[in-house]
């Protein structure tokens, strides 16, 4: 296992596999950061239930754009140009969850609650990682993601507490996003995931991170009065 800590000035000396993996993971991260606003801004900015919610949609998008900027900076400094993801159509996003568009408030709420939580999980993979410029941008990004998760949770809870119809909408949205969330961790037993861990760029295997997520989210859904979807139903990756 590689245990050194790398600064930008050391990057040129690194193994080609390390350079390739770091560039790849930064590109995907940048795509996911900008992919969020591309999913919800068009329909949700005008359609959020209150003016305050409209402004919070805009603030969330601003924070995700800033996350993109920070990741793009780390990538750009090592010569990896991720700017193409700024103009990439949604259907070409690296991660399937970001292909399409969010058209209902319940989907927007559950997206924050469940998918921004995946964002937090992915960023936590880089805690104490071997590439220090990446490690340094994490605290502010994770703090903002926690805000998105909390907002999504609160809006989902409001919907549940609004009555049977609201609860049914929330459950449908959870059923839709939960399996997509689990697939976002990638394949169990992935060789690439092992290489990320070997180079100190990630901490957990895909299956371990996914299981941690299941263990965290299940009790929250139950406490909210929702049914935890079958974690194996409708999955693309196991």
């Amino acid at each position: 296992m590689f245990t050194d800590k790398i600064e930008l000035k050391d990057f040129d000396k690194m193994d080609p596999e390390y350079k390739d993996l770091l560039g790849h993971v930064l590109t995907i991260q940048a795509d996911c950061e900008i992919g969020g606003p591309h999913l919800y801004v068009e329909k949700m900015l005008p359609a959020a239930p209150t003016k305050l919610d409209q402004l919070i949609v805009a603030r969330t998008a601003a924070e995700e754009i800033d996350h993109y900027r920070k990741v793009a900076r780390v990538a750009g400094d090592i010569g990896v140009d991720v700017s193409f993801v700024l103009s990439q159509p949604n259907e070409k996003r690296f991660v399937e969850t970001f292909r399409g568009s969010i058209t209902t408030w319940e989907d927007n709420s559950v997206f924050g609650f469940l998918i921004d939580r995946i964002g937090r999980y992915q960023l936590e993979e880089f805690y104490d990682c071997s590439y220090l410029p990446l490690q340094r941008i994490l605290p502010d990004i994770v703090t903002e993601e926690l805000g998105h998760i909390e907002y999504g949770y609160n809006k989902t809870l409001e919907l549940i507490q609004s009555g049977d119809a609201g609860k049914a909408k929330a459950q449908r949205a959870v059923d839709f996003w939960y399996v997509r969330a689990l697939d976002m961790f990638g394949r169990s037993g992935s060789i690439k995931s092992e290489r990320y861990r070997y180079w100190g760029l990630k901490r957990r295997s895909n299956e371990q991170a996914r299981q941690d997520y299941i263990n965290e989210v299940g009790p929250i859904l139950t406490q909210m009065g929702l049914t935890v979807p079958d974690p194996n139903k409708g999955r693309r990756y196991n």
Partner: protein, 63 residues
Amino acid sequence: MPQPVANLEQIDEHLMEVVRALHGAVKQGVSHKDEPQIMDKAITDCKEILDEIMAGKVKEWLN
């Protein structure tokens, strides 16, 4: 040292400006919660800024 990407600084600065403008508009709206006209103006401003970013015409940002 690796060679940084061309236009990295310009895109970074442009996006920093965009984020700053969005936060400014949101703050203006949120701090006038009881004044619908100010909130509407803030939402319109956010929409204009975000529409430009969502269009993704990066070359135009740099001109």
